[in-house]
């Protein structure tokens, strides 16, 4: 499995993938890029028997290609029975290039994988669940965050340094600059167990202040509907939906969002959904486990206060 990490700190989804991999066989973790060595001990705690580490500069200096190259090399050398990657934008692209490099089949957006490597994927916004298998080469499967509850289990964590052979084609797209826009220390939307989203009902960029405060009281990430990102109230990378991010958290709170089909496509597989909307006819209530008809400008701050009080 490929570890998603920032400077050696694995993201939660990596622990989920390791937990899943333990159910399927003996997990080896692959950690690529700056700070990779620092992750070895952490992934061992979640059951990694082997940890393949590569810190070649190309891995962070060029888009996706070098990471796929190292993985392809490992698939060739170690003949794993499957490769699991996180189903985020980069994970899927690495998986795609790896599939072509190794002549393998690819399944993306799995929410579960069985012992005989059947992947379950929700499609059409969760209305249909498909069971897919890979018929050619090494099964390459990308798995969505929050699909498995991560549990610790010590693995040997034997580290092996990998020296990479990276071709010119893999270094064709150079990363010139990386700009991190402040998220106020909030978890990443794709990774978060709880997401609080605001829509047109929030009314203005300033309105997102109360959404962020609610999110912070729960340790949640902040999402937005397209109406809100189109209006420039919140960045596009936080858009949830068909043309935004797909999230599948334990809890999704929608405030001032009507629940258009394109928005649902990005959040429908959330475990628990809570909606706050002043219109009792809003379609979001059709899928909410708990719906509150009311004005978000009074309900959201009251909820934040109540949560803070209960958490002490």
């Amino acid at each position: 499995m490929l570890v998603d990490h920032v400077d050696g700190a694995p993201k939660k989804v990596s622990y989920e993938l390791l937990t899943l991999a333990r159910e399927l066989g003996t997990p080896s973790a692959v950690v690529l890029g700056k700070g990779a060595s620092a992750a070895a001990e952490k992934v061992a705690a979640y059951g990694a028997e082997k940890v393949y580490v590569c810190e070649a500069e190309e891995l962070d200096g060029f888009l996706v290609g070098p990471k796929a190259a190292v993985l392809a090399q490992l698939v060739g050398d170690k003949a794993p029975s499957a490769v699991l990657l996180p189903s985020n934008a980069e994970g899927k692209e690495i998986a795609a290039r790896l599939a072509v490099k190794t002549g393998s089949g690819l399944v993306t957006d799995a929410v579960g994988v069985t012992a005989d490597l059947v992947a379950e994927q929700p499609i059409f916004g969760g209305a249909v669940v498909v069971s897919s298998t890979v018929a050619t080469g090494t099964p390459i499967i990308t798995v969505r965050a929050n699909s498995t509850a991560p549990t610790e289990a010590a693995g040997a964590g034997t580290v092996e340094q990998v020296s990479a052979t990276i071709s010119a084609a893999d270094t064709a797209a150079k990363i010139v600059e990386t700009i991190v826009e402040d998220k106020g220390g909030r978890p990443d939307l794709g990774d978060a167990s709880i997401v609080v989203s605001g829509g047109r009902g929030v009314g203005a960029a300033e309105g997102f202040g109360i959404i962020e405060q609610l999110a912070d009281s729960l340790g949640a990430a902040v999402g937005a509907s397209r109406a809100a990102t189109d209006a420039g109230w919140y960045p596009h990378q936080n858009q949830v939906g068909q043309t935004g991010r797909t999230v599948s958290p334990q809890l999704y709170i929608a405030a001032g969002i009507s629940g258009a089909i394109q928005h649902r496509a990005g959040m429908q597989t959330s475990k628990t959904i809570v909606a706050i909307n002043k219109d009792p006819e809003a379609p979001i209530f059709e899928l909410a486990d708990y719906g509150l008809v009311g004005d978000l400008f009074t309900v959201v701050p009251a909820l934040t206060d109540e949560i803070k009080k209960r958490k002490g």
Binding site: V130, A169, A172, I179, Q250, L292, D295
Partner: protein
């Protein structure tokens, strides 16, 4: 700059989409179809680059007969010509196979840039640019919220999970765009009339030199073994705020152990 835009016809999101029991593929015949929405942004971006610096915009679509409607729409927006890859043998191809077929057609075209949408609303895989980059050996510049092309260099702002990255490559290069990049134009009446006379080349797999053994459902590297329709989510309690709405939600969250 000569630009190829990859345009896909997809079922309308509003339509009830179904898998067919017989072969577990998407029922593309019985639903309303539209141009994949993000592909309109790809067409628009290509037209803007052309309008600024000259060149030709070619639409490339792989899909059944009726995908012609979508191709016409792209031509009526202002693209110059189109190539339609259509063959019964392609039916049921997965993404990996589609990238093989599209790469074969790209070999027959001259271009500086290929522009795709970031994601198709039916597959939702967002991997076509990566697959094609691997197949062609050309640079992958995916997820662009901004594209600047000058001379032999293309630079994009790639949207990331927590900001953006500036990524640069030499042409020919493969770009995909996200919806915040521009505002697509509507086809004008003049455009619609002109589109009818624009060159449209229809290719079979034989014309494109595509090996029939590498496309289609039977040889797909990923296979759907079964599918199940999930019962729609059941609506839970909906309560009216009586001044204690915040407290009520907090109670619900506590009952679910979130607080």
């Amino acid at each position: 700059m000569n630009i190829v835009v990859l345009v896909k016809q997809v079922p309308d999101t509003w339509a009830e989409r179904k898998l067919q029991d017989s072969d577990k593929t998407l029922d593309r015949a019985s639903v309303d179809v539209v141009m994949n929405e993000i592909d309109e942004y790809a067409v628009e971006e290509a037209l803007r680059i052309k309008e600024a610096g000259g060149g030709e915009v070619t639409i490339l679509t792989m899909g059944p007969e009726r995908a012609v409607e979508t191709i016409r729409k792209a031509l009526s927006m202002g693209a110059d010509k189109a190539v339609h890859l259509v063959d019964d043998a392609l039916k049921g191809s997965d993404a990996v196979q589609t990238s093989y077929a599209l790469a074969k057609v790209l070999e027959t075209l001259e271009y500086d840039l290929v522009i795709a949408g970031s994601e198709a609303t039916d597959s939702r895989m967002s991997i076509m640019t990566a697959l094609l980059a691997e197949r062609t050996g050309q640079p992958q510049l995916s997820g662009a919220r901004k594209v600047t092309a000058d001379g032999g260099t293309v630079r994009i702002e790639r949207q990331t999970e927590n900001g953006y990255a500036v990524v640069e490559a030499a042409t020919p290069a493969l770009v995909s765009v996200v919806e915040k990049i521009n505002e697509p134009r509507y086809p004008s009446f003049k455009g619609i009339m002109a589109a009818k006379k624009k060159p449209l080349t229809t290719l079979t797999i034989a014309d494109a030199g595509i090996d029939a053994g590498q496309v289609g459902l039977a040889s797909a590297p990923s296979q759907v073994s079964s599918f199940a329709t999930k019962p729609p989510r059941q609506a839970g309690a909906v309560v009216k705020d009586e001044g204690d709405g915040g407290q009520k939600i907090a109670e619900f969250l506590a009952s679910q152990k979130f607080v």
